[in-house]
């Protein structure tokens, strides 16, 4: 049996503040489209079954696993990836905090961690350690043992409060 040939469709995505129309197959995952069509390789693919959180992006400000969505489902939504947050020269406070507190080792889970932390702090500016650990529990990290990530989020809360 041969696979049905998928028709490509046009979809307009608002990614990191800019709208762009791309043609995609309806079965293409949002994570793949962001990486391949938009070149946003900060969206890391870790499991493709929604468990590891490495592909976390923000959709209308909420953390979402981009491997669990089709690109066509994201039309009209406001998508943010880690690339929009800051650059090595000018980091977002959450990124600065991860840097200061050694909140990463291999860096593979980091974009997802940073965005999850940002979404948490947008909602709860001064989270407790337990709240942080709970919020991060959907993001797996194999390197750090999490503690420095937790401390990074606490530090990020401080940096954001300082403005």
């Amino acid at each position: 049996m041969s696979e049905p040939k998928a028709e490509k469709v046009a979809v307009t995505l608002n990614v990191n503040g800019a709208e762009r129309t791309v043609t995609v197959e309806p079965r293409w995952l949002l994570s793949d489209v962001l990486r391949q069509e938009f070149g946003l390789t900060g969206v890391h693919i870790g499991c493709e079954h929604g468990v590891c959180g490495a592909c976390t992006i923000l959709v209308d400000g909420e953390p979402v696993r981009s491997c669990l969505q089709f690109a066509v489902q994201a039309e009209g939504a406001r998508i943010e990836t880690v690339e929009a947050l800051g650059t090595p020269e000018e980091m977002d406070p959450v990124q600065t905090a991860f840097w200061e507190k050694h909140g990463l080792q291999c860096g593979y889970c980091t974009p997802g961690m940073v965005l999850t932390a940002k979404a948490l702090l947008d909602r709860v500016p001064n989270p407790t350690e337990a709240e942080i650990r709970h919020a991060l529990s959907g993001n797996l990290c194999r390197c750090t043992g999490y503690q420095f990530i937790v401390e990074a989020v606490e530090r990020a809360a401080e940096l954001r409060a300082e403005g």
Partner: protein, 784 residues
Amino acid sequence: MAVVGQSVPRREDGRLITGRGHYTADVVRPGQLYAVMLRSPHAHARIRSVETGPARSQSGVRAVYTGRDVRERIAPIPTAWIPPGSDLAITEHPALAVDTVRYVGDAVAMVVADSLEAARAARNLIEVDYEVLPAVVSVTDAVREDAPRVHEGVPGNVALHWRAGADVDEAFRTAEVTVHRTIVQQRLIPNPMEPRAAVAEYDPGFESLTLWATSQNPHIHRLLVSTVLGMPEHRVRVIAQDVGGGFGSKIACYPDEVLVAFAARDLRRPVKWVEDRQEHFVATTHGRDHVEEVELAGRRDGTITAIRVKALANLGAYLSTAAPGVPTILFGLVVTGAYDIPQASVEVMGLYTNTTPVDAYRGAGRPEATFLIERLVDAFAAEIGMDPIALRRKNLLRDEQFPYTNAFSITYDSGRYQTALDLALHTLDVPRFREEQEAARLEGRLIGLGVTTYVEMCGLGPSEVAGAVGFQGGLWEHALVRVLPTGKVMVMTGISPHGQGEETTFAQIVAERLGCPLEDIEVIHGDTDQVSMGWGTYGSRSTAVGGGALNMALDRVIDKAGRIAAHALEAAVEDLTFEGGRFAVRGVPDRSLTFPEVALKAHLAWSMPAGVEPGLEAQASYDPANFTYPFGTHAAVVEVDRETGEVKVLRYIAVDDCGPLINPMIVEGQVRGGIVQGIGQALWEGAVYDETGQLLSGSLMDYALPKARFLPPIEVFHTETPSPHNPLGVKGVGETGTIAATPTVVNAVLDALSPLHIKDLEMPFTPERVWRAIRDAEKGAGAR
């Protein structure tokens, strides 16, 4: 100000935190094709036929390769460790299975197509006619007389049989006390967050191949890939830039990257392959998986006199790259742990089974060794009614015994074991804990304390020893320090960090020696065309061995720069000082040159001292005199929920001694990460196969990795005892946490359960398993 010893924020982080790293899966080459593997759904089956016609005729499909297509063109994948005296039964490991599949995940065919979707769709059209054969999964089944044979030519499935030490039977016969335990050291699945990947590009003009790969050791990959493909080594370039964790699973040379390289050469097009997570579970090497009979002999006063270990080690279906060395050399020679045990005997049978190959996983052999001795010490203490901490103290090596040669002729370099123990116990406040424990027990609560005093053999290692123990490579390390005309510094190192932070720590070493700012230093690794040679990052060797090479190369650069400076300052070399990046004539501080000024003079070469060549660059190869031996004490306090069986780690204290710290923050990160992986083994992680060889724990939904909310803050402390044979005094710290944490938590849980007379329990201590043990114990008590 000193740079070494400071918690400098990492220099690699800017790109990684902002999503601008370069992982293998990020590599895009013009015109690249996509490869997928068809993997066996059966643990053991004969391949009657593979029908690829419909797949090949799909639009967008460039090639479909089967075992028969490639067996004449790709040599078998070799193992790289042949322990002497082990009768290693080396079997052929084809890149793609030809007649027989031997584990679920064994690759049967590779499809290469214009798009990933086309490749996957074509894969679905390949028809493989399998004749399913009986499979053997566990080591205890593999040794049975009627066990199916994994390899026709290997009777009894015995891959290796290795012994070390001396006869201890007499010691056991005459001992006042002996204790025995059966230990099931469960199989673990490494799961770095980045799956494996490979991208290969062949240049038909230069007849050269570039392979981007998720590798912990690109030079080993270059050697093995070029050998297997029959390509000259100098025409193969392996690049591993950013690698998302490895934990041992990215040491091995796998069929996958060889196949991708082969296809790129065959099709004259770049080819990309990225493992998905389910594939990782079956196709990337696993770790541990022993069943051991372990015994300790000693006296009623608590003196341990002998240890005897018989282990069955599961090697899986094929011998992976380092696999034969892991349950033998890296395990057997250190089972006496941190204790003065004069007599020891180890016997290991390595067995083939119809499971994913087993190879190094963080600690590789040494966690298994530490686990068994730490369990035995607790068991021995219980047997003679002695406090397990007192028993440890009695048998721990004393400071004056170093260098200490253990019963297997392994010489531990330096140690102050009691100091680390004291610091951990003081931090914990044991008398207060025991009071709390007593009070809790009166309330029916189960809390417990576990302590581990460990030593690790790492900093791999002296090449002469590597040769003597059958490792088919060297374990020295290489560094090149290139100073540019502006005084900026490039360092090329043969180690291959993938999260450990040597872009920072090595720059700290350079900044300290040359007095230049960190910004002026770039540490380059993970590219065989840029780095002359290297053996990679594993075995906690990067700073101990790679740092040693770097230090030697810096000596040479400073020596040469000094001679050029002396010449320019019209002074004798011995009259110069070099401090803070400035060469000055002793006593005449205004007659001086900065390091960049000397670098420029070296490159202009307008006036060089006699016999000194232009330029300022030096390389060094460092072969260590011995391994290094970090040590320490870990202590954990846990509470077991009587109703649910859930284990909660309330407190975790780590005292580690890895010699001087280059960057304390990075060391803490390594320690904490390692501990959490070790706790993972104790409480949650474990591969589960059914009897037919299907991996039941084959996804992140079924295999529990540690999560942020499961864990308490970990208290990290250090003592500093330099390694006497290593120029930096450093010992390595990447694996200590994993080695110490598993027995620490297990001993703590068993201490908590001791009022119920539960003596032992198989890992992982999942709530269900603990709850059943509690229920059975309570039932048993009721029946009495």
